[in-house]
Amino acid sequence: MSSTDRCLPKTPSIARIVSNQHLSGGIYRALLRMADDWGPSLPGQFVQVECPPREAFAMWRPFSISRFRAERHELELVYGVVGLRTLRLSELTAGEELCLIGPLGRGFEAVSGRRPILIGGGRGIAPMIGLAERWRESLPDGRILYGARSRDLLIPIDDPPYAVWLATEDGSAGFKGNVIELLEAAIARREIDPATIALYACGPNRMLAALSVWAESRGVPCLVSLETHFGCGVGICAGCAVPVRPRDGEDAFARYRFACVEGPVMDGTRVEWEGVAE
């Protein structure tokens, strides 16, 4: 049992919106006031949210914890508007309430003895900032690699805990290329030594797949926060299964892992990425 298992909540929580702000290109940040006893949590863990209106949506949906400020009992979610739920979320205003369960699942835990390279793609940058804040004291030599399609889609990062290296596909800000190319360039310039780092990543599954393949070829540990279609988020529906390569001696059952309880943070190098939807 990992430390996070003990966080399993007994009841849904009522969260009050403190603020709900547009960041850039369809991406929003919601700050939620939680009950005093909520938490603790790790970046990479998630909450299942009952998106309003209640009558419209039977299923709840997962959102990553981008950070949780325990002193203020404030939970931060960063989300992109892609469908009706996230549209309705974006319309919530301060004072309104949300019902959610969490923290759920396994978050990011440090690979000991390795310099952390945090990689965020798109809105996936948010939990990476939360993670960097957590590790800034204990693991001060980390870096953040932040990839986006273009400058106008970048989410502003105030006071980053680690140095941030930018990559945009169109070169409109920072390095022109994707985060793997940025990583390769840093290695070429000897700013990063693949033998001493571990990768922690959150972003589109396509990016995580490419990164995991790269990491495996270089023997670099690579933890990724995966998104699949969750039915329940609590391990009872078997809907979120992710195919992994069973280790020797494991039987066929071990081929699928539940992203909601055995993830969402998983060893990217063991995932069979062809079996994961984009």
Binding site: A58, W60, C232, I236, C237, A238, G239, A252, F253, V276
Partner: protein
């Protein structure tokens, strides 16, 4: 003045008998929608449940189907899990003891491709103790081999029940498929084959297509539709089963509130199962139990038996 308790405090016994099986109340969680049964322990008052039907267990472990396995539809959900499970051996060694320790009736759902496989699983479970009943899943629409045949063909469903009946004294519930013209005939066949109860219904064969890729959203094609969308059809099917057999019927399909559960009990189901509705609210089944008690008190009913089958059928 009378010493009677005010009506809202009267405690009504929700206990119910389904042939050889006695349940503390008529609200179970449905197979495959509550993990093995212990996963949601921290999320609900498990002891409040009338029983837990486990995920379907097969002889060998199964890894299940490819992702995505779920797709939301209007008021419903298509799934194609493919009976992912640890196999009977590990189930008995690891899961069952944990389950039995929960202190609620455990109904083990079993599946297989051939009669012999069902029999072998049942035989192994016969050797354990503490199980309240077996639910025979002759109706999973998501397993390629034989799955749908069992659903549609009363003879093959009956053969499975008969086969399992030979190897165990455990109470047997047959879980019926709705994907048939005449669920009454299917029910009767299972009754004659030796079932002690009938669970109605499993999911409906359903399809969703990605209009851009032109491929089905569930990689294998069709899946099973569940959730509130199917409730009116499931209720009609459950009523057919009640009309065609003398066996106790366990109603399932789209129940998401006490009112929904009451519809099934009124048309004659002796118990109900909550499925998909547990996904967003794992505590829902426990709330349904409370709600049924409240309803009986409000309606001035003194026993659950008065409610069950109280349907005023215009055809009767």
């Amino acid at each position: 003045m009378s010493a009677e308790r005010p009506p809202e405090e009267r405690v009504i016994d929700l206990g119910v008998e389904l042939g050889p099986v006695r349940l503390p109340n008529p609200v179970l969680v449905a197979s495959g929608t509550f993990g093995y049964g212990n996963e949601a322990v921290d999320l609900t008052r498990v002891r409040a449940l009338g029983g837990i039907v486990t995920k379907t267990v097969t002889l060998e472990p199964r890894s299940g189907n490819a992702a995505p396995r779920l797709h939301e539809t209007p008021s419903g959900m298509i799934n194609s899990i493919g009976l992912q499970n640890v196999g009977i051996e590990r189930f008995i060694a690891v899961k069952l003891p944990e389950l039995l320790a929960l202190g609620v009736p455990i109904i083990v759902s079993i599946g297989g491709r051939r009669v012999e496989e069902f029999q072998e699983v049942a035989r192994r479970l016969e050797e354990t103790s503490g199980i309240a009943a077996l639910e025979i899943n002759v109706s999973c629409p998501n397993v390629k081999e034989g799955g749908l045949e069992f659903c549609q063909n009363p003879a093959s469903a009956a053969a499975v029940i008969e086969g399992v009946r030979q190897v165990t004294r455990l109470a047997l519930w047959a879980k019926l498929s709705p994907n048939t013209s005449s669920i009454g005939t299917l029910a009767r066949a299972c009754e004659e084959a030796g079932a002690d109860g009938l669970t109605a219904v499993n999911t409906f064969v359903a399809l969703a297509v990605d209009i851009h890729s032109r491929a089905p959203i569930i990689p294998s094609g069709t899946g099973g539709l569940s959730g509130p969308a199917i409730r009116p059809i499931a209720l009609a099917k459950a009523r057919e089963v009640v009309r065609h057999t003398k066996l106790p019927v366990i109603g399932v399909g789209g129940i998401a509130s006490a009112a929904d559960a009451l519809e099934f009990l009124i048309i004659g189901a002796r118990a109900v199962q909550v499925g998909t509705a547990s996904f967003p609210r794992p505590w829902l089944a426990a709330e349904v139990v409370d709600g049924i008690g409240r309803f009986l008190r409000e309606e001035g009913e003194t026993t659950l038996a008065e409610l069950i089958g109280s349907y005023r059928d215009p055809r009767a």
